[in-house]
Amino acid sequence: MWFFTATVLGLLAPSLAAATNATTPFRVALPSDFKPAQVFKNTNVVRNTNLEKSYARETVNLVIENIDKKPQGDYYVPFPADVFERVGGFEVRDKKAPQQGRFVVTVTEPVASSETQYFIVHFPEPLAPKSQLTLGISYSLLSSLSPLPATINQNEKQYLSYRFSAYVPSAYQTLTQKTKLKLPSTDVPEYTTTEGLKSGADPERKGATYTYGPYDTAKVAPGTELPVSVRYEYTHPVITVNLLERDLEVSHWGGNLATEERYWLRNNASQLTNQFSRVEWTFASYQKAPTCAVRELTYPLLPGSVDPYFIDDIGNVSTSRYRPGTAKTGANLEFKPRYPIFGGWNYSFKLGWNNNLSSFLRKAANADSYVLKVPFIQGPKMAEGVQYEHVVLRVVLPEGAHNVRYEILEGTTSNGLPGQNQINATFSSLKTYMDTLGRTTLTLEVDNVTDEARDSQLIVTYEHTLMDALRKPLTIFGGLLAVFVGIWSVGNLDVSIKKR
């Protein structure tokens, strides 16, 4: 398991919030003429591109070999600079031993000469000369699918276009490679064909799967591109959350975990050619015809979630339905935005609910220590997927919590989040109701996340003493006692008019 831990040093002084061990994503600066040394060779590369959701999800399996005379521990994965900023949840594992966890990955600044940026994969142990390693690389490409045509009529089918290089971008020589595209439908009016690169048709079609290659690229220079594109029917919304702010508020006194999420959402589907027609929309909704507008969102909540609310800039939105479910099945919040969100339209709203804290918080063996386990991200569960450009998660701990440490859980498969060094962590203090010092707050910021990260979990440990817990009632006690003492002392003043 890979984990990340940060520590806030003691909250002995009231100015606790100043105690921070913040981490900021770090980027390696490279020389302007940088090119990775040719110390590896890709023996075989298989790229699987899944376009069934509204973003591209790629897994690249490659067998690499160290062709240098010395052991090598860093492998460079290149992306064009404009694509690089939209790569989400980049993860590399040893394909043959995924349980060993993800490799440490660092990112680089753009190289001026080539406009290429690299992910540098650091192997746990350098790869010996002539040794081979099978890597499994997975990532999402956000905003990689563009509607073509860009504008359509309200009830028209939508087509998305995906452009990529049939040669997998690589900093090293590749012997053989192929790319499998999994499309959401068999309605594919256009796709690039190649000639002379392999025997037989290229791409090979099998239902909704298109395979480019295998190509023999032993004599192709590293970094060579072979631009191809595919255009396919996709009459679903392209849900993009520009910003998600998610607050988790822990209350020991209330025994409650309050969750609130604020969304700034945009549909990046084809825009409307003409004015929106309410009549056409009503017909289409009645027939449940496919549409590229966001009609309704379904949000699965954890078992025991209560008091849900759905609010936008105007106020409460009444078009939501909450299905509490059972203790085992969990709940579902089905909510319709105030208006259908067509391509290019925006909608911002707020969701919130409460849970009993006992399901998420445990008292550790050490006195005054607590362990909190909460979902890092939840979000609507939609067949077409949801992409988040920027996520800000705030875990608001009780006032006086100190020695805070956190860890993002990793399993044997990708949790959809980038590596720990790409998550910005800060500690601060938040003053709200009945606070004197302010509540210890852990803020985690991450870019380019998709709904693949829905199952990711965050564990936070902290210490909270009895005196920390009693701070609120004692503060009120002190205030009221001061009033009583004031009344008593004022009552004892002799203000009568008499001779002294």
């Binding site: 984990f3 508020e249 209350s251 025994g255 006690f477 009221l480 009583f484 003492v485 008593w488």
Partner: protein
């Protein structure tokens, strides 16, 4: 010890608040009521003895009562 191990090790001790959610309003309301009554009694006789015997308990009860009541109405502090 990694944090997931700490979580697993603490499986037998889930957190329980002093007062459960269902009882917060009753407890908070009663504490506040007693505090208000004691405050009224202190108002009748503002001696030092009253301050110690009525004012101090009223302050304590008001402190805890206010915290439970604000939780009961949905502002979880």
């Amino acid at each position: 010890m990694s944090l997931i191990e700490a979580w697993d090790a603490a499986s037998a001790t889930p957190f329980h608040p002093f007062v459960s959610k269902d009882s917060q309003f009753a407890v908070g309301f009663n504490l506040l009521m007693i505090a208000i009554i004691l405050t009224g009694l202190f108002g009748l006789n503002r001696s030092f003895l009253s301050l110690a015997s009525l004012g101090v308990p009223a302050s304590v009860l008001f402190g805890f009562g206010a915290v439970f009541t604000i939780c009961a109405v949905g502002v979880y502090v």
